[in-house]
Amino acid sequence: MQPRILQVRQQILKKNDEQARALRTRFEDAGVLVVSLVSSPGAGKTTLLRETMLRLRPQLRVAALVGDLATENDARRLAESGAPVKQIITGTVCHLEAAMVEDAMREWDLSSIDILFIENVGNLVCPASYDLGEALRVVLFSTTEGEDKPRKYPTIFNTADVAIVTKIDLAEVVGFDRPQAHASIQDVRPGMRIMELSARSGAGMDDWIELLKSHLCSSKRPLATSSTTPTL
């Protein structure tokens, strides 16, 4: 029996990559800005998203998908904003994949959404490998997690576009070293945009909302209604 060597050269995650690319095209065609959030469990993704959606509505039409291993608690919290929200229960899967996103938004009309938020499963490791078709990926870490967090998770920081330090209102009380946090982000992902905020106190939230609105402007096609005018 002669063994044969087949030269393959295929991306292992080509199925997810292809699905993510197809989603990205659909989102772009529909003029939807898709923003995903990744962080450790407890960094404040849900609280930030809830406050964000409350501020963006009703001027902008927002929706959210949230992934968790179990419970619908986060979807319930986000739904308090009044926006359409869908929970993705992953069971034992520690990250979201493009197929899960596509499946969850099946019944939604993308043309009726301005910004779609995707809250990933709380995990700074596994989501790094999976493109979800988003336009903007935001990585969050809280002041309570320490200023060297980025150094511990360089891979996920390198898949994200913006870093947000959350719970900035607690910085002093937990002894969070802000310059060190900025230095560790710049070491691990030079040139990364950094924001600091507290969803609870409101600090830094205006800048975050502005960032979203400016990304939304560039995601809408030239002939579409300007996003600076209220939509009904």
């Binding site: 029996m1 002669q2 063994p3 044969r4 060597i5 087949l6 030269q7 393959v8 050269r9 295929q10 991306q11 292992i12 995650l13 080509k14 199925k15 997810n16 899967v93 520690c94 990250h95 994949e97 490791v125 596994c126 790094a128 490998s129 150094r151 360089p154 891979t155 996920i156 390198n158 898949t159 710049q186 070491d187 691990v188 992902r189 030079p190 040139g191 990364m192």
Partner: protein
């Protein structure tokens, strides 16, 4: 563990490739699968090897070994106008001039490279003593 998800994807891609190359997965024996894993792919090679052993059970790749080629991190230095290999992924700056280097050229790979397969239907004369490996 997402290495198990990754390993399952490998099995799917490998099985597709077998069919694409004209092999019947039900009658093939896959001896080895080779993969390239970058240091910044988000995948731990040892965990992938363990996960692969589980993922191949009950599939056309049952019993196949996984061989991994590790790929280190390389960045582009805009000042030196050269590619630089970095010893670790924690500090993206040029080892020669110190300039920050956000552009990653190598190190994110997660690719299936080759499949070593035997078509069990080819042999009708019994086992040979020292099969030649085709390269």
């Amino acid at each position: 563990m997402h290495e198990l998800s990754i390993a399952q994807s490998m099995v799917e891609v490998a099985a597709e490739q077998l069919t694409g190359h004209g092999f019947d997965p039900a009658r093939s024996v896959v001896k080895k699968v080779s993969a390239r894993v970058g240091v910044m792919s988000g995948v731990v090679p040892e965990a992938l090897i363990s996960a692969f052993e589980i993922a191949v059970i009950g599939t056309p790749l049952r019993g196949a070994a996984l061989e991994i080629e590790n790929v280190g991190l390389a960045v582009w230095c805009p000042k030196c106008q050269a590619e630089r290999a970095l010893p670790d992924i924690g500090s993206l700056s040029c080892p020669v001039c110190g300039t920050r280097t956000p552009t990653i050229r190598r190190g994110r790979e997660l690719e299936l490279i080759a499949i070593e397969v035997v078509d069990a239907t080819e042999n009708t004369a019994g086992p040979t003593t020292d099969p030649e490996e085709e390269r």
